[in-house]
Amino acid sequence: MRKHWGLLGIFLVVCIVTALYGKNFLTAYNLMNLVQRTALFSILALGVGFVIGTGGIDLSLGSVVCLVGIAVPWLLIEHGWSPWAVVPIVLAGSALIGLGHGLLITRLRLQPFLVTLCGLLLYRGIARWMTGDQSQGFQGEFAELRSIAVGRIPLPGLEAFRLPATTIPLIVLATVAAIFLTRTVWGRWLLATGSNESAARYSGIPTARLVTGAYVACSLLAGLGGMLFIFDVGSAQPSDFGNFYELYAIAAAVLGGCSLRGGSVSVVGIVLGTATLQVLRNSINLLGLGSQLEFAVIGAVLLAGVAADELVRRWHAARLERRGAG
């Protein structure tokens, strides 16, 4: 936790400023929305966290979100398949995509950036071609299935605030990921692979399998995320659904203290990073800053935040060293 003070600081500052100067930030409805958005994006960011942990990168995540998000209503509505077939097939498909990435990266030793960039183009292209650029949606059907994402769970003691249903997969996934990374042999090995691949290989760690696994996990979570996103939003256009989500996810992970050089991942950091980004976007609307300024404000706040974080960290380190002297 200690290393997240800086990020927590940014998060709280943004919250406080918005609560003070914006409208209705602390209403149940808004908080529910924020939790929902954070949960959805966190699932993507968690996935990319694994890949970043191995020192790789996955740029195709947004396109996987798109492909899955388009495929689900396409299969359900256009082709009339049963949800019991669609959900497993779509998830298995995303896992296969990840497997493809992993094998190309570990067996053919292609650069992750290149492989997943091709994926970014390819999966979106497939989604567009499959549907003839037609937007896909549930057209008001499948309300029950969609309640996986849009449902709100009443909490005892709280009236207005009901917990968005997506928090449940998030909590489960985040807990599993955190336990996996810190408590299991495989998690430790995954991070070791990220911090020095050849040392890991010399330690008898099956690095290729772990890296492949990370890409599978990432695409699988992107697929799951894509499904939840489409359940939440209700419809999607192949040409822009999930655009830039890979950047949001990677940014959240990096903000949350994952190093792109690999070897360190923090689940708490990832969720906190995602929450910060979401609150920032929300606060721009609530402060009434206008959508033109959205990008500029997010960029500026993030930059100021990470710079301040770094300065505080330095000052702290300098103090420690001086104390070591005394």
């Binding site: 914006g22 409208k23 209705n24 930030f25 209403t27 409805y29 808004n30 929305n33 958005r37 003839g132 650029d133 037609q134 937007s135 896909q136 949606g137 549930f138 057209q139 008001g140 849009v150 996103f229 939003v233 209700g234 419809s235 999607a236 256009q237 192949p238 040409s239 822009d240 659904f241 655009n243 830039f244 976007r281 929300n282 609307n285 609530l286 009434g288 206008g290 959508s291 033109q292 959205e294």
Partner: protein, 331 residues
């Protein structure tokens, strides 16, 4: 239906106690000059009527629009005029807005939702106007290429179909659907294809260039989104073929208007975005004052498209400039 009733009930309430300075909002379906003019109209109306107006432009498609609508509701907005990107699939969020606030649509309608009124034109008919313009400019038939930013949204599809029907001189039938992915020939006209670019201008330009390469006999192109027409003018100028390949344009890009003047563009079909903005806010304001009868009977306020040709381009342009200046002043 209950939501419509509930809104009307609220409006009836306002009749007794009109809102002092209602907070109204105008939501576009993307970012474009078109919307900036609409913004000018909205803000001008806000100034004239003394109410607060928030204009938001979702830059990243459906999910972005959804998020912005939700956030507006949270801010406690009193009335919203929105151009839904994919109305069939956006019922929930639209109704969510209607639950808390007054909802009307502009530019692209959402039939079946709880919207009180639609302000705009029929994109199919506007497309037809453009198609007819093209037919007149190219009476003997020939190869035609269509460029459009993207085809997913409903108004784009209708506009596209309208253009095709107008060009081919078919009957008016907004429900007709041709396959835009394949070239086809009818009555001497060959539609060689439809190209989209997802708003990347360099790509849009490259598309026009490449189509000229592939189809040397191209006789006419149309750009159904504003910048598509502008870029067609640009490309033909650069290639030294301005005037040889005819252009039937859409919207009021400056280069298009210049091109009409010079005679290298047949003409352009313009909507009245300023009117969309102005009328949206005016209507919403009237509703917050309890004037239920401001809503037309069939729930549609038609602001028809106009065809601008060499004859009326000058008056149109000076009028447009005045409106834009007014919009700036309102800011």
């Amino acid at each position: 239906a209950d939501l419509v009733a509930a809104q009307k009930e609220r409006i009836a309430g306002y009749a007794k106690q009109p809102m002092k300075s209602p907070h109204l909002s105008f939501v576009s379906n993307g970012v474009a000059d078109f919307w900036t003019i609409a913004k000018a109209g909205s803000l001008a109306a806000g100034k004239d009527l003394g109410c607060e107006v928030t204009v938001v432009f979702p830059g990243a498609g459906l999910s972005d629009q959804k998020r912005m609508l939700e956030d507006l509701v949270i801010r406690g907005i009193d009335g919203v005029s929105v151009s839904p990107i994919d109305p069939k699939n956006q019922m929930e969020v639209l109704n969510q807005v209607a639950e808390q606030s007054l909802l009307i649509t502009n530019d692209s309608d959402a039939p079946g939702s709880a919207r009180l009124c639609y302000i705009g034109m029929d994109n199919y008919l506007a497309g037809r106007q453009c198609g007819e313009l093209a037919r007149k400019g190219l009476p003997g038939g020939g190869e035609v290429a269509i460029f459009i930013g993207r085809l997913e949204q409903d108004n784009a599809k209708r506009r596209w179909q309208g253009f095709v029907d107008g060009l081919l001189g078919r009957s008016t039938d907004a429900e007709r659907r041709d396959d835009h992915t394949k070239p086809f020939t009818e009555g001497g006209y060959t539609i060689v294809g439809t190209w989209t670019d997802s708003f990347d201008r360099a790509k849009a330009k490259a598309n026009i260039e490449d189509v000229m390469t592939r189809h040397p006999k191209l006789a006419l192109v149309t750009g159904l989104f504003e910048y598509n027409s502008v870029l067609a003018v640009e490309v033909f100028r650069q290639a030294g073929r301005a005037g040889q390949i005819k252009i039937a344009a859409f919207d009021e890009g400056a280069d298009v208007l210049v091109g009409i003047r010079e005679g290298i563009v047949l003409g352009t079909v313009v909507q009245d975005p300023y009117g969309y903005g102005y009328e949206s806010i005016k209507l919403l304001h009237a509703l917050t004052q309890g004037k239920l009868d401001a809503i037309p009977k069939d729930g549609v306020m038609n602001i028809p498209a106009r065809t601008i040709t060499k004859d009326n381009v000058d008056t149109f342009w000076s009028d447009l400039k005045a409106k834009l200046a007014a919009g700036k002043a309102a800011k």
